[in-house]
């Protein structure tokens, strides 16, 4: 049985379900599906057997007919220990032969070329289509072939070796091509997702018991709360909204309590987003906030929302001249002094910057490009994965507050609820529906964590048993 697939581009071994080569990134989906078909065993019906045999013969024949260097490949595979048994070697030949079936001459029709390029956004080109193949060599103009493929005369085995060398950092020793004679263990993704999903679905379908204890609040949550609580009313708060629906499942729960707090404190939020769908995501969340606190009009706190493309290069503008970046006239009015007016407006600096981002890079960019220029305190609201990277910025004092992960959001929510208990009029209560939804999400996640821990435990046990 063949438990690995050989990359047709660089010759390295890959896990059987790999879509792309771990070493060179070549598209292995054709090879992977063929290997899986081979792993499922021979066909059962007589017709299937005949068809499979005929197809196999045809593939082998095509391979050997098309490629005069087949013997060299055979020798090479033996050298690197791939063809340990006959079945593997035969499979490898078949996989190599199949990869050649994807080869095609260069498209000359401009429209066809354009559509292929667009398709490349989704489906990477088969890398082996640019290998040297004597069968297609005559379809290219001689000048192009000479320029584009100086390795045209090399055998497939030598090509593998060249690609492997070019794809690696140079080493001082003559390291062998393969690091292990045994293929890596098979990763059964559907089982992993199935188990994890089952645990989390159970928490929804069955009233599993609440897990004891509360999630620990990491440092930075209470500081973020104090930053917002200490703001005077009706101040200008700048929001950098750097997440979209792809990460909204996590980020919404973290951002909601802080937005609820800002709304309750009657702050004026001016939002910029570097993401195309960021503004729509923010507006949707404010609408949800309206529903959760049974109060129509909290979305009015969001005074303006602008899409601002340009990445880190545009961000210094926010620190140097917010008025230039702003298209909203209200914001421009608050930012620009007007000495000619009878009652000049004092230019205003943002009282607080709220960076709402799923990735650490967006917060880092803000701290590197904007904060050194306008010196506005920054509170970061981020996903759990960003926390370890951003924690040093909190320790160094560059962040005035850090709320990360759903655990951070829940800790903030608890602070808000304490405030509600102390002074019910200051902060709007969450509706019962919203409270129930929060509780259910916490349940689902807690049991998901237990499921994940079990998967890791079982996996380690399986490896131990296998090794023994």
């Amino acid at each position: 049985m063949n438990s690995v697939i050989i990359c047709p581009h660089c010759g390295i071994r890959n896990r059987i379900n790999s879509n792309f080569c771990n070493h060179c990134g070549a598209d292995l989906r054709a090879e992977s599906s063929a290997a899986r078909a081979a792993e499922r065993g021979p066909a059962t019906g007589p017709d299937d057997v005949n068809d499979a045999a005929a197809e196999s013969n045809a593939r082998d024949a095509r391979y050997f007919d098309d490629d005069p260097h087949a013997d060299a490949v055979d020798e090479h595979e033996r050298d690197v220990g791939v063809g340990d048994d006959g079945a593997d070697t035969a499979d490898d030949f078949a996989l190599l032969a199949e990869s050649k079936a994807f080869e095609r001459p260069a498209l000359r029709d401009p429209l066809a070329q354009l559509s292929t390029d667009l398709q490349g956004l989704l489906t990477p080109h088969v890398v082996s289509s640019v290998t040297s193949d004597p069968a297609h060599a005559d379809e290219q103009p001689a000048s192009v072939a000479a320029h584009e493929n100086p390795l045209a005369g090399l055998a497939e085995a030598d090509l593998h070796r060249v690609r492997h060398l070019l794809g690696n950092e140079p080493t001082l020793t003559n390291a062998p091509l393969e690091v292990s004679a045994v293929g890596p263990p098979t990763l059964r993704i559907p089982w992993l997702f199935g188990l994890l999903g089952l645990f989390m679905l159970l928490a929804f379908l069955v009233n599993l018991p609440d897990l004891p204890g509360q999630p620990p609040a990491l440092p930075g949550v209470s500081a973020a709360y104090r930053q917002i609580e200490d703001l005077a009313d009706n101040r200008l708060v700048l929001v950098w909204w750097a997440y979209d629906p792809a990460t909204a499942g996590e980020m919404d729960l973290i951002a909601l309590p802080l937005l609820r707090h800002l709304t309750a404190r009657q702050q004026q939020l001016f939002l910029f987003s570097p993401l195309p769908t960021g503004v729509a995501t923010a507006e949707r969340l404010f609408t949800r906030l309206d529903a959760e606190i049974n109060l129509r009009g909290s979305a009015a706190a969001l005074r303006s929302a602008d899409y601002l493309p340009g990445g880190p290069a545009i961000m210094p503008l926010l620190g140097q001249s917010l008025a230039l970046a702003a298209r909203d006239t209200t914001l421009q009015g608050r930012l620009n002094a007007n000495p000619a007016a009878s009652a000049p407006v004092t230019p205003e600096q943002p009282a607080l910057a709220l960076v709402v981002a799923a990735q650490a890079e967006d917060v880092q960019n803000w701290l590197e490009q904007v904060q050194p220029r306008n010196h506005t305190p920054v509170v970061a609201i981020t996903g759990a994965a960003a926390d370890p990277i951003l924690r040093p910025y909190w320790d160094s004092g560059q962040l005035a507050g850090l709320v990360s992960g759903v655990d951070g959001g829940l800790a903030y929510e608890a602070l808000l609820n304490n405030a509600v208990a102390a002074n019910a009029e200051a902060i709007p209560r969450l509706s019962q529906l919203a409270l129930g939804a929060r509780h259910q999400m916490v349940q689902i996640q807690n049991w998901g964590h237990i499921g994940f821990a079990l998967i890791i435990l079982l996996g380690n046990l399986a490896i131990l048993v296998h090794s023994a």
Binding site: N19, R29, A106, P110, Q113, L114, D117, L121, L122, H147, E148, T171, L172, I189, P190, F193, L196, G197, M200, L201, F204, L205, V206, N207, G249, E250, L253, P276, T277, D306, P309, G311, P312, A313, M315, P316, R327, Q364, N365, L367, E368, Q369, A384, A385, A386, P388, P392, Y393, D395, S396, Q398, G405, V406, D407, Q440, I444, Q445, G448, H449, F452
Partner: protein, 260 residues
Amino acid sequence: MTEALAAQLDTAGFWISFLLALFTFSAILRDNVLSRLAQHIFVGAALGYLAVLLVQNVLRPRLITPLVQHGPGNIWITVPAVLGVLLLLAAIDRSIQQGDNAERLQPLGRRLLYGLGMLGVAILLGVGISTTVLGALQGTLAPQFARVAQSGPAASGLAAALWVQIAVVVLMLFVTTGVLVHLYVAPRLLETAHPVVQVGLRFWSWLGKRVLWLSAGLLFARLILSRVSLLGAQIDYFAQMLRATPLWPAIVALRHMLGL
């Protein structure tokens, strides 16, 4: 649009997104036509949305409207507009001619077009790289180093505090270089270096390896937390959908019957 129609569109959108989510998740089992269809729809819709957004929010208010209102006199608008148009023309021409070694084989006019088109890219790259490098220095490297240098237990007296800071800086450099030794230096020098140096390198590499383990473990744990949250949100979304189907009363009845 009437409210009833809007509500119907909302419901339709809900179900379409539910189906597309199922299609996407089906890729867990294996690559299939439905998951590919969902991927193509997502990418197509995202690109279309982005194109409309760029025209409506960027090109029209920040470029076209000022050009129409004030004419081409303002170089801060005219020059970027010209560079943008040249880049667009070069990209279209290059895309159509792709694979023909355009730089060497094309006539002068086309090469000039590519050169002018690349001018805008060069400006973007230059500004982007310099901004990023300077920002990293002033926003990350300097403050973080200063913070590390100032940390350490409270010490009495200036000299003691100075020694603590020096020790912390040395420790930070030692650990950081330990990682580098483990990754790059040790594997190459271990076989050839003097035995005493080998012992030192092995310890240094050992330390660097543990630091990497600790960092990777911490990152991985928080990454898991984040991804489980995302999966939980999806399941919660499915749960909401399930509540809207006739299946839900049956589930509730089953739960009641089983006492769950």
